[in-house]
Subunit: 411 residues, 2 copies
């Protein structure tokens, strides 16, 4: 049975991990940074050294291509991203790109004749230095001119980053690919959570990528002297926020599992030891794999917040900050992953991905799915992120046979 060259893949991961390496042993290679530019040059050199075609689109997505005999054949895409969060790890993104590259090398050496163009892609700025999943959204055609006009990091940062990569607004919007030219997309990634390791499962098959909704919830009370105002005469905004944090957690665990909630920031005003808080602004984030469940969670949590605010004599304001639609993945591609894992004698389990991924964008235009390998302790976006060599190799071989399976179907 065909297998990738494990040594070559592990050496590539090692070499790439040196680019943007931090003193703590992590990797800082945010999109458009000098380290990112260096990583891109290294990738291009590896692609060309392997005798593969190198492509770069208007969004600076980089690809290696192993072409089909028939130029009119569709393209089967696989890949992930080379950028990292600041002081992140060596596996998040990198694994999916380098495994894809290794598979193309393996297939090229095997001299197989392909019924599709096989393309190993590295998407620009998955981590959202400028915009979450910038490159994959550009390719999917879901990146709008409006997104580029109001980038998360500010217009100046976007302009500077785009200059560094030599891309333009126009080029970015023109990176859109025609769905008719695509067969499917598959992404290999580390889990970034502890479930596979804890359960001793080799391969996770992602059924959906969570939808994410972020809000500011603002509890508004009345500033008062923290000594002279009797406890029963206070409208303390922090009391409302604190009650909500606890009740929201309990409600989500009880009624919306495996959905999750996070209150990642609290801003208190005026914010002095001796003043009863007038305002508490809570950063609230909900995640679930189903939009219907997200709707229900949202309703339940806002009702809860309203009730708690009322009890404390507070008023409530809410503001939607960001919304990312849940993406159910393709049953056909999921099945191909499961069959590939089974052929290799690997255990597998279906699960939801609670992190955003390029697959989310790609699923809008082509049948897409995603496979995960265990991540030790679930540690992610952290220098201590670690995936064992055997899991890396298992993931790459499963991806190889998933792609072979998808190609076999259309032969």
């Amino acid at each position: 049975m065909l297998r990738i060259n494990a040594r070559r893949l592990l050496d590539d991961l090692e070499a790439l991990g040196e680019i943007g390496r931090t003193p703590q042993g992590g990797v800082s290679r945010p999109a458009m940074s000098p380290a990112d530019v260096e990583g891109r040059a290294w990738f291009r050199a590896r692609v060309e050294a392997a005798g593969l075609e190198f492509h770069r689109d208007g969004a600076a997505n980089l690809s290696a291509v192993l072409p089909a005999g028939d130029p009119t054949a569709p393209t089967l895409l696989t890949g992930s991203h080379l950028d990292t969060v600041p002081n992140g790890g060596r596996y998040d993104g990198a694994l999916g790109v380098l495994a894809a590259l290794e598979i193309l090398r393996t297939l090229r050496q095997a001299c197989l004749s392909l019924p599709v163009h096989l393309e190993a892609i590295s998407f620009t700025d998955e981590e959202g230095e400028l915009q979450d999943q910038l490159g994959s959204r550009a390719l999917a055609g879901t990146l709008t001119a409006r997104d580029l006009d109001r980038p998360r990091g500010g217009g100046d940062k976007l302009a500077a980053g785009m200059r560094r990569l030599g891309v333009t607004h126009q080029g970015m919007l023109a990176a859109r690919r025609d769905p008719k030219d695509l067969l499917a997309f598959v992404e290999l990634h580390v889990e970034q959570g502890p479930r596979l390791e804890a359960a001793g499962i080799d391969i996770g098959v992602v059924t959906a990528i969570v939808g994410i909704r972020s809000y500011w919830l603002r509890f508004l009370g009345r500033a008062a002297h923290a000594g002279t105002t009797p406890m029963d005469a206070r409208a303390d905004a922090v009391w409302g926020a604190a009650a909500f944090v606890q009740s929201a957690r309990d409600l989500v665990i009880a009624r919306f599992s495996p959905g999750v909630v996070n209150c990642g920031q609290i801003q208190v005003r005026p914010g002095a030891f001796n003043i009863v808080p007038a305002e508490a602004h809570l950063a609230l984030e909900l995640r679930h794999g189903s939009e219907a469940h997200l709707d229900d969670m949202e309703d339940a949590l806002f009702n809860l917040a309203e009730g708690l605010a009322q009890v404390q004599g507070l008023t409530l304001e809410r503001e939607l900050v960001a919304r990312c639609i849940a993406a159910p993945l393709d049953e056909g591609v999921m099945g191909a992953i499961e069959r590939a894992a089974s052929r290799l004698g690997l255990s597998h389990r279906r699960l939801m991905s609670f992190a955003g991924h390029d697959t989310q964008a790609m699923s809008a235009i082509t049948p897409s799915a995603m496979l995960l390998v265990p991540s030790m302790g679930g540690t992610s976006h952290n220098p201590r992120e670690f995936t064992r060599q055997e899991d890396i190799v298992n993931g790459a071989n499963t991806l190889l046979h998933t792609l072979l399976g998808l190609m076999a179907e259309i032969k």
Copy 2:
């Protein structure tokens, strides 16, 4: 029966309220600000216009003095402070100074021969722009060189403020008065709380000024991905802080009333929508009129915090930020206030002051007490602070007869 000149007092309050007036109708006259310097010049002019002696000590405390016939007589002190918090009100501090000045004018015009030197004092920086109760602590001798070396607002700010007032470290420490030269201290102030107004009481007689203890309580957990980390695998610092806020409130209401607790600030780190909080720093302030009760409150709240942290898998750090010792006031002076109010046909009630005051510092060196008049809605440190004219006049007349009563006792 002798009474102060109500019109003259109200006109003075009106005129002083124009100095540092904000567009919102409040008053910004923080210690050492240009408005404070202007207010001090205005006060000196009013003192001299009344034919009273004007004094200024090494801490820039300003006094009007109506001398006794006998130069070796002790001094009976009354007063408060002219400085305000930024964007504060017209009554806090100003009432006590201007009522004291008005009483000296009234007694001078009555041509009484006094058995004591009667001194109307305005203390420097009661509100703590540099140090809480800076002037009264300097006079009481409880301000140390160390306080001046580590001022709350920073050394540069202290140096600049002291230059503006023309005072030196040495002069400040030399402002200490000999307790043997003092008979007593009485301060008139607005309540800054709603209790007198709510109960329809004219005069509050303060039994003690609360002790205040401030801490940073730091709940320490583990930063984690807010999507991929299951709810039951989180060590969310905000969960601990939120549980504490609620339980601390309930505990203090149930077991330590009339003591109060405030959580006036929460700082969350790293503080992002999509990261489970690693740290939540809570600004905790406790107030009670009894040090013994404060000890008990502190123990109970820290035990509570430790227990809640443990349950959530967090660790707890605490840091004492400031401590102000509770000051029980003088029974003799309290009695004099009550007799004066009764003589004037005014209702009175004993209560604790939950705000800090210059009386706190003065009580360390001379028999001291304090009377309060109603403050509408209890609004304080706010442009909307308001005390009715009749309450102002009632307070000033009660202070007048309190001082006359104290003088009568030593004749």
